[in-house]
């Protein structure tokens, strides 16, 4: 047991270096000849479509980003959720039917606020950006979900997007969606957050676990994101090989449990 603990940082360092090298190699190879096939993620491509539909119906798009702090465990989950909404920020700024973005963590609020302001600046009219578009709603997950749910009933939301670090409290949001109607798209990484979303959304509206990290690739279409998916695949085979080898050693009784 003790050698394994000492060995663990070394293996972790090795995996990080392998991932970094793979990201560079696959990135370069990807730019020359795109991969033979990649599963597409229609749900992220439909996000910008929602802006147009909302613009036509005059309805509100409500984006809830969850309570994942940027210094915490869910930092990268919150960042992945923001990256998958990249195209939405630009289009919303362009059509001037901006979504209402809410979050339950201060650091995530500051970053989301930055992204929205930059979308307007990229469009060339930073003065049309209004600070109320991105709101920090509450300090605890339960009150955040309940408060966000009241916005659905107040503003008659057209589309509700629940992407990010959610747990059991997302059920308050799904209940509001059932009561007040409107379209919904949801994605989370924790099973506690996915379970209520599973009962509310159809398969094509639900983003399961690792798929949330593919949102950036679909939204920004940058080759570094597609290369990341390629590296994730490469590392996936590495993990499977590791599990099978460990199992073999374990069956043969080599190496402690």
């Amino acid at each position: 047991m003790t050698t394994d603990l000492w060995l663990r940082p070394l293996i972790a360092l090795g995996i990080t270096l392998v991932a970094a090298v793979a990201l560079t190699v696959i990135g370069i190879r990807h730019r020359q000849a795109p991969p033979r096939y990649l599963r597409d993620f229609p749900i992220f491509r439909s996000l910008p479509g929602e802006v147009g539909r909302a613009a036509e119906e005059g309805a509100l798009i409500h984006v809830t980003l969850g309570s994942g702090a940027l210094t915490g465990e869910d930092a990268m989950t919150s960042l992945a959720a923001l990256e998958s909404l990249h195209a939405l920020f630009d289009l919303a700024a362009a059509y001037d039917t901006p979504p209402l973005i809410t979050t339950g963590d201060p650091t995530l609020y500051v970053l989301a606020d930055d992204w929205m302001r930059r979308a307007y600046t990229r469009l060339g009219n930073p003065e049309r950006y209004r600070p109320a578009l991105v709101q920090f709603m509450a300090a605890t997950p339960a009150t955040y979900a309940a408060m966000a749910a009241t916005y659905l009933s107040e503003k008659g939301s057209g589309t509700t997007m629940m992407l990010g670090a959610f747990d059991q409290e997302v059920s308050l949001l799904t209940d509001a969606v059932i009561r007040h109607g409107g379209r919904a798209i949801g994605g989370a990484v924790s099973p506690l957050g996915l379970a209520p979303l599973f009962t509310l959304l159809e398969p094509q509206q639900l983003v399961l676990g690792e798929d949330l990290f593919a949102g950036g690739a679909e939204a920004t279409q940058r080759s570094v994101f597609w290369a990341s998916l390629g590296v994730q695949d490469f590392l996936r085979w590495l993990l499977v090989a590791g599990m099978v080898l460990t199992a073999l050693f374990s069956v043969l009784g080599v190496g402690g449990p």
């Binding site: 970094a20 990268m76 201060p106 609020y109 500051v110 059932i178 990290f213």
Partner: protein, 210 residues
């Protein structure tokens, strides 16, 4: 300069230092990691101040504009200011802090999460309205076994049947659910790894204006 280059440089250097501090347990790297993490928490506190001020601004605007939701905004602003001042003055262990905790915050938030018992049930009951496939049948069957099998009945005649349901519930949690949770967790860990590496190597710069 301030918009792009400096933030990216700071993010990459601080990130790599913290990463090496975790992977190479050789002094002074772990100490540098601890200091940088402590600083990150310190700077995070300022983000909380900013978010607090923005919350007050939004609700004060709604108050000024009047109309629907005016009274709720009044409650939010008043309670936010009063509680902040009192708890800042006395601290969490003070009389005001404890009374607030036991009389308002804990019961209120518990009640909100207790509401999820009803909302989960209601959304679970509509499962077959949303999805009518093999997946939802499997989902419902496992939920039923979990609910019935998590607490064994003390009444003797049901011991036999009850035992199998409890046994199945336990097996479900120990093997297939464990496999699914691990697959989900490992997939998410890979996603976190690559998203983090993109930030650490400056390939994506969520913090800069570009």
């Amino acid at each position: 300069m301030f918009k792009r280059i400096l933030p990216t440089a700071v993010a990459i250097s601080a990130g790599l230092l913290v990463l090496l501090g975790a992977f190479i347990p050789v002094d002074p790297l772990p100490q540098i990691r601890a200091v940088l993490i402590d600083w990150a928490m310190f700077v995070g506190a300022f983000a909380f101040i900013l978010a607090y001020l923005q919350l007050l601004r939004v609700h004060l605007t709604r108050l000024r504009r009047g109309g629907k939701g005016k009274s709720t905004s009044l409650w939010v602003v008043l309670s936010a200011l009063v509680v902040f001042v009192l708890v800042l003055w006395q601290g969490p262990a003070g009389a005001v802090g404890q009374t607030l905790l036991r009389g308002l915050l804990a019961p209120g938030q518990s009640a909100l999460l207790a509401l999820t018992a009803v909302t989960l049930l209601l959304s679970g009951m509509r499962l077959f309205k949303v999805r009518r496939n093999l997946g939802s049948v499997l989902f419902l069957a496992v939920v039923l076994v979990m609910l019935i099998g998590s607490i064994p009945l003390a009444i003797v005649p049901y011991q036999g049947a009850m035992g199998t349901v409890v046994g199945v519930a336990d097996w479900l949690q120990r093997v297939p659910a464990l496999a699914g949770m691990r697959g989900l967790a490992l997939g998410v860990a890979l996603g976190i790894l690559l998203t983090g590496l993109r930030v650490l190597f400056g390939m994506t710069r969520p913090h800069s204006d570009d």
